[in-house]
């Protein structure tokens, strides 16, 4: 190998890296929706923090269940529920792509995996919701 050729092999390739501004996610709708999806966790964590605050209130004897007059809390919960469902739909939509369930020398079709994931969400919502409501009617 000649000196010139050897130098060209070992010399680091200079590439132009286009600077990425902080507002790149506002340039396209798909970018924006991606960032919305990423930010759904903020609302999920916010609601769980409120829940842990309620557990702390119970621990120290100051628990009061939210009532119909707590408009701000109901609005907060509705917003958190909306973004939690957004997370659920976008996350479970990927299950068919990510989860590879082997059946012999083949894999379970992606649509079946996705169907099972959304079926699980529906089942847990109906059964879990019924149990949580039933617990409110238990006579203590």
């Amino acid at each position: 190998m000649s000196d010139v050729a050897e130098e060209s092999v070992h010399r680091p390739v200079r590439t132009y890296r286009r600077p990425l501004g902080n507002d790149w996610w506002l340039r396209r709708r798909s970018y924006f929706l991606y960032m919305v999806r990423e930010s759904t966790v903020i609302f999920m964590v916010a609601w769980l923090v409120w829940f842990l605050y309620q557990v702390a209130a119970l621990k120290f004897g100051r628990y009061e269940a939210p009532t119909t007059d707590d408009y701000a809390f109901i609005a907060f919960s509705v917003v958190c529920l909306f973004f939690t469902l957004w997370h659920a739909v976008t996350f479970l939509n990927l299950s068919g792509l990510i989860l590879r369930v082997p059946i012999g020398d083949r894999f379970l079709p992606a649509v079946a995996v996705k169907g099972a994931a959304f079926g699980g969400l529906l089942f847990v919502t109906v059964v879990g919701g019924a149990i949580m409501i039933y617990l409110g009617y238990v006579k203590l």
Binding site: L52, A56, A65, D70, T84, A88, V124, Y137
Partner: protein
């Protein structure tokens, strides 16, 4: 090293166990939160205040339900995995938004927050009522 050698036969590549651990927790956390969190918010956060009786109806029902070890375990796992999932997403989201100065600080803040949140959840859930 051959230029097109498959990644799984390359001796110079080693598994990143730390990275795989957080990805494992991220994936499972996302799935658990997607399936279980909506109904908890729906019943306790929306339907309850609107008048539907539920497990957080009053302090007696809340305490009685939380007294069950399985309920404690479920709520703890839900908090743990959701916090870790959120930390992983926030770490990359904040990086994408321009906080690229110190990835180490970003990771400590996000994952540290998840660990603190999990410890608080454990202490509260397992010592109440």
């Amino acid at each position: 090293m051959a230029a097109h050698e498959p990644w799984h036969t390359r001796a110079d590549l080693k598994p990143s166990y730390g990275h795989s651990f957080w990805w494992f927790m991220f994936g499972n956390g996302g799935g658990i939160a997607a399936v279980f969190l909506p109904v908890v918010i729906l019943v306790a956060g929306v339907l309850g205040p609107l008048g539907v009786m539920n497990w957080m109806e009053d302090s007696r029902h809340f305490a009685w339900t939380l007294g069950n070890p399985l309920v404690k375990l479920f709520l703890f796992v839900l908090c743990l995995l959701t916090f870790v999932h959120a930390a992983h997403r926030l770490r990359y989201m904040l990086f994408d938004l321009g906080l690229r100065g110190s990835v180490v600080v970003l990771e400590w803040a996000c994952y540290g927050g998840a660990v603190v949140g999990t410890v608080v959840a454990a202490v509260l859930l397992f010592t109440t009522p």
